[in-house]
Symmetry: C2
Subunit: 352 residues, 2 copies
């Protein structure tokens, strides 16, 4: 697969983003949602922040406390053997897991799709009990003149997906939890199919073995979802053997709905692949990447907060090219283009 | 709390139920859904079966295989140290958990509510990929002239809740998965509130700590659900400290919606308690049992397949009395009555 990485990569790094407080630092800016708004490309960046460390023996975890509508800090001593810091994303103590940073969503705008002007304050910041550990990994689906932002909300009760709508990316109308815990990687299709809305999502089951499968559901109104069905599962001995989840919202091609999704292999490498879904019955898979279309190889994809990660939450399909915005190594934002034709051809070879 | 246990208890035991195959045995009949159908009480029993053991060194696990539309048997050698039989409900091998029995739903009818005539074959049996490990713990909600059966479906992808409708309990119209994994204890309210349907449910989050909380959601059509909100959580140092989940579908009283739910304590004891919910805004709790209204005490509740369990999936509130059908010790079905007045009074004492 021919990947055209931008020579400007990474196009947004943590140092480009003003923290939301003077005593905080931005540790990651990644996994942006993308939409075209008139002559601009808009991104909703995931900005992960934490308090600036002032004491080397203490890790401070930020948590949004709804009852006081503010972020509180919880301290964990580094030398306390009850505190587990082995995964940099978490602090675990007595069976309770905390995130080591808190994320919000920040707007960025660009005329050329590469050079972005980044807002100084959050577009969507944690609010309410479901967002105590932050808001993450937004996706944007435009339906008619409305943009629907669906994003991950994290709290100790689990991982849910929230819906909000906007017409201007200035004010957002929050529409509540659309998928209950644990569920992320929700992607709403951009138009009704036979009168119904559809979404992909990724519930996590822990009951029998841990399962990370992509499901598809339908809705009359975008807020209530049902007729949940398994769409596809990880494949043993494959680039997507351990986990899969939706990436960018699906978009329509002459061949069907194209979904660029992520797969995780046994080495915890995050790649991108494609699913081609039936145009009229999107719960039917027409083709699926046997090999990834996008593999972490560049320095900024291989090394970072979490190594070997390319992860997309949005792309623009324009003039026959996929313009992919993606998080690299859970650290920064990059841009690459792939010919739609190349993706389709790679799928065609598998019997599409 | 004054509990009037039927002197006929247990009213249905495994020996009363004909297995669905000659080479199977019924190991439990419990957790029935209940409805009144004209002059009869109908129950949908959970019937748990397994192949009759013929070789002492082998445990045989039944699994419904959708592709062949039949139940297959998977063998586990008792002396293989890789097989874990420590919990009688499961067999675990190499991180994969199986159920040691497979359940279906069986209809039983009674004129007097105590003596039941039990069908010889299943009303709802495993069908489709979501029900490979069985169908369990039905609830029935009557809305207008339709009875909606919502029941737990179990497969290796997790625990979902399915919806089916019937008018006569003879034929059932399956309406698909209404809550995706892991989610059980779904209870649909028997009427619209301000034009919307409501349901309680119990998603399981494993992301931070294992959470077993009751949520409330709304729907325009019973099939698609959204605006998911946490209703209540387990309470430390209480009879419902570890897990809670809905029991019988809520019913309306002059004080609000009364929900009889189950709570699990640190000793894995399953008791019943009550929630009183606002009549117009059922996501608001007016009162909650500080002490259980029903504790396992009778022999058949204390000893059985799982000890110390009373678990209800349905009750009839008639003439000021709660007529509770319940599973005892995951083994048999019992009947008890409680005065509605007593339940309300116990809640009133807590500031209702």
């Amino acid at each position: 697969m021919r990947i055209f990485r931008s020579p400007a990569n990474p196009i947004i790094v943590p140092g480009d983003v003003k923290p939301s407080r003077d005593d905080y630092e931005v540790v990651g800016v990644f996994n942006p949602a993308v939409a075209r708004l008139e002559d601009e490309v808009v991104l909703l960046l995931r900005v992960a922040e934490r308090p600036v460390a002032t004491r080397p023996n203490v890790t401070v975890v930020p948590i949004y406390e709804h009852s006081h509508a503010r972020i509180i800090e919880k301290e964990f001593f580094r030398d306390d053997p009850q505190n587990d810091f082995s995964d940099p994303r978490f602090v675990i103590r007595a069976g309770q897991k905390y995130l080591s940073s808190i994320s919000h969503l920040r707007l960025a705008r660009s005329k050329n799709g590469i050079d972005f002007e980044i807002d100084k304050t959050a577009a969507i910041q944690p609010a309410g009990i479901y967002e105590a550990f932050g808001v993450e990994d937004a996706r944007i689906t435009r339906i008619d003149d409305e943009y629907y932002v669906h994003y991950v909300a994290v709290c100790s009760s689990g991982v849910t997906t929230m819906l909000a709508s906007t017409i201007d990316f200035t004010s957002f109308h929050r529409l509540g939890v659309i998928f209950c815990p644990d569920n992320k990687d929700v992607l709403i299709f951009p138009q009704r199919i036979a009168g119904r809305f559809y979404a992909l999502h990724r519930p996590v089951s822990a009951e029998f073995t841990k399962r990370y499968e992509i499901w598809i559901s339908e809705s009359p109104d975008l807020r209530c979802w049902g007729n949940h069905r398994i769409l596809c599962a990880p494949r043993a001995d494959s680039w997507d053997a351990v986990k899969i989840g939706g990436g960018a919202p699906p978009f329509k091609t002459e061949y069907g709905w194209l979904e660029v999704y992520h797969g995780v292999d046994v080495d915890n490498r995050y790649c991108l692949g494609a699913l081609l879904l039936d145009p009229d019955e999107p719960w039917k898979i027409l083709a699926r990447s046997d090999t990834p279309i996008f593999v972490p190889q560049a320095d900024y994809e291989v090394a970072g907060f979490v190594q070997n990660v390319v992860f997309t939450c949005g792309l623009l399909c324009e003039k026959g090219r996929l313009k992919i915005y993606y998080g690299a190594a859970d650290t920064c934002i990059c841009y690459a283009e792939i010919e739609l034709h190349d993706v389709i051809e790679s799928l065609s070879l598998q019997g599409c």
